[in-house]
Amino acid sequence: MSYRLPQQSGEWIDRNLTFSFSFEGKTYQACNGDTVSSALWASGVRVLGRSFKYHRPRGVLSLANHDINVMLENGIDINLRADVLPVTAGMKLDAVNTAGGVVKDYLSVLGWLAPFLPAGFYYKAFHRPRLLFPFWENIIRRMAGLGVMNPKAPRLVSPKTNLHCDVLVVGGGPAGMNAALVAAKQGARVILVDENARLGGTLGYDSSSGLGPGQQLEQLCEEIEAHADIEVHLSSYAAGYYADHLLPLIGPEGMAKVRTRQLIVASGAYEQPAVFRNNDLPGIMLGSAAQRLIQRYAVKPFERGVVLAGNEQAWRVALDLLAAGVELAAVIDLRMDPPPAGLIPPAVLVYSGYCIYEAVGSSGLEGVWACPWDGQGNADQSRAIYIPCDGIAMSVGWAPASALLYQAGAKMKYDEDCQQFVPDSLPPGVHAAGRVNGIYGLADSLADGERAALGALGLSSVINLLPASQASHPWPLVEHPKAKNFVDFDEDLQLKDFATAAQEGFNNIELMKRFTTVGMGPSQGKHSNMNAIRVLARLRDEPIQRVGSTTARPFFHPVPMGHLAGRSFHPVRHTPLHGWHQQHEASFTYVGAWQRPAWYGPDKATAIVNEVRAVRHAAGLIDVGTLGKFELRGLEAGEFLERFYTGHFLQQKIGTTRYALLLDESGVITDDGVVARLAEDFYYVTASTSNAAAVYREMTRCLQLWGLEVTIVNLTGSYAAFNIAGPLSRQLMEGLTTADLKQISNGGAIETQVAGQQARVMNVRFVSDLAYEVHAPAQSILSIWQALVEAGQSCGLKPFGIDAQRLLRLEMGHFIVGHDTDGLTHPFEAGLDWALAKDKTFYIGQRSLKIKANKPLTKKLVGFTLPHPPANLPDECTLVLEQGRIAGRVTSIAFSPTLGQVIGLAYVAPEAGIAGKRFVIRHQDGSDVAAIVSKLPFSGAAA
């Protein structure tokens, strides 16, 4: 049968637009605007989901995403929340985590096993015998979890936006709407966000207040819409509060990151369930859920029901139910108070001072046992009354939606008058309004919104305008010897589980949370934390204020990773020669963000051999535009370099280059490069590709520290460079320049024209004794490169990549920082004593080396050859063993086509590091490979 009501004045559904969808294989009708839960409830479906642990049937509880009774999967997405998931045409949905469907879930047998599975049961069993644990674990893992993830689901790319405003108002209920309006009228740019599809909050469903979805709401909505400075985000939630007022708003399409000057949290309160046996049966729902069903979706919550009352709200719910045609069997009031004037329903049985002791039913509510009680959890069963009914609306208390306030650093206090936590102190720029503040009632809420807005604009400084205004029952929990009185619906936690936890020593709110897992489920305690705190306070015989609350971490509602990721951003850097490399079959490799040619041509092995051969017998060209490139100008530039690097630069002759070794303060090698002195007060410095940014950064820091008269310009991006190496390199270069390159053959540097372009040419002998590094502005490098390629076409010039470069420099016996050194290597270990100036008063790392020099070396970098190389060479980073102990490791190894043998660099014990001595490498396959220490450079390498 249909539970759809006649048209309600403010309903959210569009009856003219209907479609069908399927749930658990059956087809149902929905109106546009329905959520899955409202459509199913309207169709009379009562078992919408199954609980996590005992697989109990569950229906609507909050209809507000404050519980996860109803979670769905559609083949792609899992754990969809039916209460807030809008129905679209043709949806095919199933409940998650059932065995045999939601109606006949055979795992509901677990309910019978509940006594065997107390809170924390998994700590107490399954670990003996140890070998059986994987068996048990496998079962437990498969029983746990919710939806079944689909590995074929597509990656969704959602956009991210950045927004700025003066005032962000979270929550579009009466307090929030009024706050937004007041702030905007004062000239502030306002963003108003609400997780619902429409503005209004309680104003949209709490109609018996007499002000309901009538004129007041329409008027507020119209004013907000008309105001140019209010930007409204609906179906969006503020997922968390982050430093300096940054809040991500999560909408259906993606994330908007809002940076606001002032934040007003008008996020309302979560209605809290009463705790009694079988309080989770389908048909038992929060009063506000019943109101939402009626007013938003025009769905009759049940046929014949009772209202469980703990506060004034309950009486409004009773009136709403009557108006919706529900047969109201009784109002069961936990308190002895008479019903509030003006809210007394006509001709309804009222049981004051009664509780619900137990609900009865199997897959849906059939009736309740009501008993008089002491208000402390103990029912007098001798006077029990049975009331047949198919629904209960519970209105017994509230908990503030204060997650954002906590995250912002607010302190909360427990207000005994309204039995709710309310803000005690708020951090600068953060304001609270409405129910989260303990302010109930329309007029009060509107006034509190206004007060918060004025506070945000610096026109008021009071936290609470009014004392908290609605009292609820302090203890809406009823003991039952047979339990199944649920406190946490996500985790199937019963009242007795808390006593168990406390008895076992977990009587601190955080320990109790961890032991019982209360509040750790997907709804993060929205409907359970408050009752858990009450229970613990009673167990400890302390006021709630002293028990405190657990930390409310982000997120407010869970956020899809696709929204968080947005469009992934992967920056890549290319040199100006990149296009040329692409046209010439380069295979690229990443060096940091740079893409560099590794080799050219289809086959790696042949390519590398041919490239090496070209450098040794003709000439080769390599793009080194990724190097760090810096200009240092000023009278104290030499002094600066003298302090920065280990070598001498003050006496460096103009037109020469020098090796530059950089250490950190502890004497560890961090980078190396080349310093060219181009004029008295002008040095040009290179740094390695991967350290370029760090070296520049450290240079500028030292400059500020030392206060020297130097200007440093970073040309890493605006200059490009290549190296031409090999016996024919001078000849080829001389064809393109008028400069006398012989003049710089021994480590010189000049500024000249190459192929008609201004360039800096340095003799840098990293891969070959005869080699020139050409540095030029990025826009001119390609023409020089192309001119050389053209000139070299006939004599065997080839471009080479970094794989050949690694081999060529190895033949030369040069190490690479970071490849042949690690995070603790100092110059003595790397054999770089020669690079350390002995007579300087200061350079970075010098004082530490003085300490290290007095300590015995533990390893030493040496060259080696393999007399009997195995077919499959030892990998780089295989170990060097000395009598079975680790003495060092291989850092570089390769077959040298030039030398016709395997060569490498390795750390060995210092006493073993003498040319001609043998040592042992432990091959990755476990065998031992003999190696012989060799002098560097490997003889016959350089050409």
């Binding site: 950064r697 820091r701 300490i851």
Partner: protein, 84 residues
């Protein structure tokens, strides 16, 4: 994302900055003992509180000092070293 005030570029999101560690005074390497030097190189004032720190604004290449509370993450002031 937190905001940090660069003395040149004003308030910018913190991902534009690099942290350079505590501002430390180097002892005279000539006269200090090995122990004093090792203390300078490795040890830090790890206890929470307001400390002067090196910060670097990456896009503009600006080093400056920020006095920051390492518990609350509130920055009390920023300035160039030597301009304290």
């Amino acid at each position: 994302m937190k905001l940090l005030k660069c003395p040149v570029n004003g308030l910018r999101p913190i991902d534009e900055f690099a942290y350079g560690g505590e501002l430390r005074e180097m002892p005279d390497p000539q006269s200090c003992s090995d122990g004093e030097w090792a203390d300078y190189v490795f040890n830090r004032t790890g206890a929470p509180g307001v400390k002067p720190e090196w910060w670097y604004h990456i896009p503009s290449g600006t080093w400056f000092v920020a006095e920051r509370n390492t518990v609350t993450d509130m920055v009390e002031r920023t300035y160039f070293r030597g301009e304290a």
